[in-house]
Amino acid sequence: MTEQGLQSGWVVVCDSAKVTPGEGFGIALGDARVGIYRLDDGSLHAIGDICTHEFALLSDGFVDGDQVECPLHAALFDIRTGKCHGPMAFVDVPAYPTREQDGKVLIFV
């Protein structure tokens, strides 16, 4: 997956410590917005951060288990896959591979 203005590859996006269970951490990568999450099992995930209904940043929303609820009209997205479970929104957001190295979070774009 290549976002505009960015070479495809692994990118360092933030310190590992920034991403804690229970809330999303939103970043801008060129024109793309990505939300990074840590689930209760410690695993790290990155999905597109812009709700596919209207405009809202999912990382500002509410994490419940492995789903994030849009802060506006409550559309649910799977944190592992970006799959949208509605209501209101019907289109999935992309999911990005992630890894951690030397206390940093990297995602593959």
């Binding site: 809330e23 405009f55 809202a56 940043l57 500002d60 929303g61 802060p71 506006l72 009209h73 409550a74």
Partner: protein, 345 residues
Amino acid sequence: MFLYNHWYVAAWSTEVSGQPLARTLLNEPVVLYRTADGQPVAMEDRCPHRRAPLSLGKVVNDRLQCHYHGLQFAPGGACVRIPGQERIPASVSVRTYPVAERYRWVWIWMGNPDEADPDLIPDYRWMTDDQWGAKGDRYHVKANWQLIVDNLLDLTHLAFVHETTIGNAAVAESADVKVTRGPANVLVTRWIIDQPPPPTYAKVGNFPGPVDRWQFIDFTAPSFLRLHVGATPTGTGGPQGNLEGGIQMRNLNCITPETESTTHYFWAQAHNFDPHNQAVTDLAFEQVSTAFREDVVVFEAQQRVIAHCPDSKEIDINSDAGGIQARRILARMHDAETARQSVPA
């Protein structure tokens, strides 16, 4: 839409005296007065005889006497005198409402009296705490109460409506915002880092340079908004939890519906710097009062536009998250109250 099983502020303590005070609350006419020993009383403001408002009458030996034919009602609501009539049927009474006096306000419970527990009154201790100075007001607003709730949960409007007092551009464009929620509560946390202080803060805080400003907005259903706001000089550790060394204020709001389209907006501003200096209390109050009057103009204009075309659509933007969560809580509580009322006894 109203929620009944809650405490609301009915009046400032200073408004309730031996003279009856008429006030419509949640569309119900209420009369408030005080007995000789200082206890506030709230009754339905409608004489059961020929429906004259009892607030036209006067207090006689702690009883409220109707102005028209002189029926008297005791603080508990029972009719205790009918001129020219020896016997008073036990059924003659007016509805009374549970009341409590706290934080310089008289609170009233508009729902089922059996559930009126004073411990449910939200904490407004800054109104009476010796470490704080506080001053407030009541605005009569010709707009629905929920428009005011929306307003306080989205402070980006400060940049546009309140440029001369508590707002500047930074408040809309440079804020780091977080919304969390509970079953009856929404908390919006906003940090505006390393930005010039807005005019009011510059006046009361004498900051030499840029500030880290916070706005913690606590919404508690149905309509209590307690804002913890303040600023510390940038670089002194505010965002890391050190809120000392600058200014802290509480902006305290109790929004009581009068009708579906009008509201009693009770509010106060409290400060913990120089708390016993009346000039500081007055200045903080005046600044916020200027801003809130600017809000009232907006609420009343919105109400007119909405009333003109109630079905017209709205869109939501990113900064509406807090307000939307609050509206969802209120709708859920309203559904629950309606469901309970429709269960046959």
